[in-house]
């Protein structure tokens, strides 16, 4: 739609990119291509949406998906072309972000892993212990110095949220087999 107006505003033009980031933008390419693939999937998938017979309504359930897919596909392809011409994206700033640090994939992976434990632990071990693992693991991955402090704070946070949101505000957070016998946690 308005992609053509984008050219002069990119990272290289605004002059804010830190110097010395010359690694090949393979990941950036991959992500842009992934977005283009999602767009293509949206277009192809739109063709498979069943249009109920008889409902000759003017605008069926397919039209909007087609246009969303087209927008996504075209915009992603423009990004890919810009990347090929050497125009990189400008990573976001933040107070806690070190602009000169390289991406620390190990920490990111560990955090994703810690968060993924929730998928299993919430229902098997209960909310308080799932939080203990998530909080403790994440704090350690981020460089907390004392492991026992991280785990204790995590346990405290888990119990407090269980009491506030589960017992007091009435959300049905599972307290888990270890705590279920205590009346206040049983809710």
């Amino acid at each position: 739609m308005t992609e053509s107006t984008g050219a002069p505003l990119d990272a290289s033009a605004s002059g804010g990119a830190p110097a010395g980031r010359t690694r090949a933008p393979a990941g950036e390419f991959a992500f842009a291509c992934f977005c283009a693939a999602v767009g293509a999937y949206a277009i192809i998938g739109a063709g498979f949406i069943r249009v109920p017979p008889g409902s000759a309504s003017v605008l069926g359930p397919r039209v909007f998906p087609y246009s969303v897919g087209a927008l996504l596909l075209v915009a992603s392809l423009v990004v890919v072309v810009q990347l090929a011409r050497g125009r990189r994206g400008l990573p976001e700033d933040g107070e806690d972000v070190d602009p000169d640090a390289p991406t620390d994939w190990r920490t990111v992976g560990l955090l994703v892993l810690c968060f993924a434990t929730q998928l299993v632990l919430i229902e098997f071990a209960g909310w308080p212990f799932a939080v203990t693992v998530l909080f403790g693991g994440a704090a350690l991955a981020l460089g907390a110095k004392r492991w026992w402090a991280a785990l204790l704070i995590g346990l405290g946070l888990g119990l407090v949220t269980q009491l506030v949101f589960g017992a007091w505000l009435g959300l049905s957070l599972p307290s888990g087999p270890l705590l279920d016998w205590i009346p206040i946690f049983h809710g």
């Binding site: 804010g16 359930p61 969303v68 927008l71 972000v97 070190d98 640090a101």
Partner: protein, 519 residues
């Protein structure tokens, strides 16, 4: 003076003890998380959405309004006091305020920021009070085609103006629209993009998109490039009563008012929210400064804190005008507040002032009250916020992850939502890493289904004639404005880029003596 009466009734509601407590809780939490680096108001509101599952609508919206205003106040404390070398000039307050703090005038910077926020917040809330009912009366007459035009305006301005690259903004918007498509389509009951997964048939909740992008995605991104070592905070000395000298006052009040005048109108139009307003105010103050004050710009000029801070808060209030009268979110935070409304089955828009007038006016009254509370919270209690600023980062971000998990799981008490959150969070991380703005994705996820509904309604009315979309003067005006907004917005962005490029280097060694300068 209908709205005055309604406002008084709103005050009568909002001044009830339990709502005062909700407001206090909101502004307190809002300031705390505003102070914490990395957590903006969007993330805060997203993380606290579980509250809406158990509070009544008035209470929950008062809490969110408090968080919204509080986050704006708290942010300035961070940028003034946090000593993070190398940070770009993305936050204007950091430009001058941080340098004032380094020169030992942090107290004055904090005071002018807080007072400016108060002045701007109050004046802009007044503007909201008198503008909103009128606009909503006009908006009642709008048809589906007009709404569709408005939503397209919001899409394209948010997509094209947020972030540094137009195609990246549109990709982000497209991803959000795509997530909004998943689920059972309302009119014909067909499933779309559900991959046969039953949990996806209900669609992807906006909370998942917001919390995933803002809490999980942000945390992963910060973790990938975390600034290690102790948190360095510039100390503030002296009691708060002597913070601003008479000279500081006389140099501040005009920038406050100018900032308000710049910020409020920009907030009301969908032009990229507060960022543009603060930069415009900063540029104005720099141009208007005379004599010694001009020389101070770049080394800690109080005008450069007072104006942008006021503009920031005025724009935040301005954003509420299209939100409440048209149901149109123009920033990510506004989009999340809309989803809070929706979780109560309340639809913001022109009918809101008719159907839910008690709720709306209580909300507006609580904005006035929240502003007063924020002034009290911020000035004398700054020492406490400085302590908050020192929370060790590993614990801070681990805590954010825990609350993100709570927000997702508490939606349906089903770990499938946790999984969806993780996927959206990883996408949010990659988007930040590769320079895609995330706000258009949230706006797309919320407005996408509304856009489709209005489009199909108008097509049903016109029996398939696309010319119906531009049949009304309002729709034509909206599309014309869209063109104008994009042109002006791109011009503003280019200006801002130039300003960033020309921002003078910090000079901390040879600071001039301000105190005895004649004006």
């Amino acid at each position: 003076m209908d709205s005055l009466n309604a406002l008084l009734e709103g005050f009568a509601t909002a001044l009830q003890p339990q709502y005062l407590l909700y407001a206090l809780f909101g502004v307190f939490v809002g300031t705390a998380v505003g102070v914490l680096p990395g957590i903006g108001p969007a993330m805060t509101v997203a993380l606290l959405l579980p509250l809406t599952y158990s509070l009544d609508p008035t209470g929950a919206l008062i809490v969110f309004a408090g968080i919204y205003y509080g986050g704006m106040y708290g942010g300035s404390t961070t940028s003034i006091l946090l000593n993070t070398p190398g940070e770009s000039a993305s936050i204007v307050t950091a430009l001058e305020g941080n340098r004032m703090a380094k020169a030992g005038r942090g107290a004055a910077a904090l005071a002018t920021a807080a007072l400016g926020s108060f002045v701007a917040g109050t004046v802009a809330t007044l503007g909201l009070t008198f503008l909103a009912p009128g606009i909503s009366k006009l908006a009642v007459q709008l048809g589906p085609a007009d709404y569709f035009a408005l939503i397209v305006v919001a899409f394209l301005t948010v997509g094209a103006l947020l972030g540094s690259s137009v195609p990246r903004g549109l990709v982000s918007l497209g991803l959000g629209l795509m997530l909004g498509l998943v689920g059972t389509e309302v009119l014909s009951g067909q499933q779309r993009y559900t991959l046969g997964v039953p949990s996806l048939a209900d669609g992807i909740d906006v909370v998942i998109i917001a919390v995933g992008l803002f809490a999980l995605g942000e945390t992963l991104y910060v973790a990938s490039r975390l600034r290690h070592g102790p948190v360095r905070v510039i100390p503030v000395t002296g009691g708060w009563r002597g913070w601003m000298t008479r000279r500081d006052w006389s140099r501040s009040w005009r920038p406050w008012l100018r900032g308000t005048a710049i910020g409020f109108p920009i907030g009301t139009i969908p032009a990229g929210g507060a960022d543009v307003a603060t930069f415009l105010s900063y540029a104005t103050e720099r141009r208007l400064a005379k004599g010694n004050a001009r020389a101070e710009f770049g080394r800690g000029a109080i005008e450069g804190v007072a104006g942008p801070e006021a503009a920031n808060n005025a724009a935040a209030a301005g954003v509420l005008v299209p939100l409440l009268t048209l149901g149109l979110p123009t920033t990510a935070t506004a989009a999340i507040i809309i989803s809070a409304f929706q979780s109560y089955g309340i639809r913001p828009g022109p009918m809101l002032f008719e159907n839910q007038s008690g709720l709306v006016w209580a909300l507006i009254a609580s904005l006035y009250i929240g502003n007063v509370m924020l002034l009290v919270l911020n000035l004398p209690l700054v020492g406490m916020w400085v302590k908050v600023l020192r929370i060790p980062r590993p614990y801070l971000y681990a805590g954010i992850l825990a609350f993100a998990g709570l927000g997702a799981y508490a939606l349906h008490f089903n770990v499938f939502d946790t999984l969806a959150l993780l996927v959206v969070g990883i996408a949010g991380f990659l988007m930040r890493r590769y320079g895609y703005p995330v706000a258009p994705m949230v706006v797309g996820g919320i407005l996408g289904p509304m856009a489709e509904e209005q489009l199909r309604k108008s097509m049903a009315i016109s029996q398939g004639d696309p010319a119906y979309l531009v049949h009304s003067p309002f729709a034509i005006a909206a599309y014309a404005t869209l063109a104008a907004i994009i042109v002006v917005g791109l011009w503003l962005k280019r200006r801002r880029a130039r300003l960033e490029a020309s921002a003078p280097e910090p000079i901390t060694a040879s600071l001039p003596a301000w105190e005895d300068e004649p004006r």
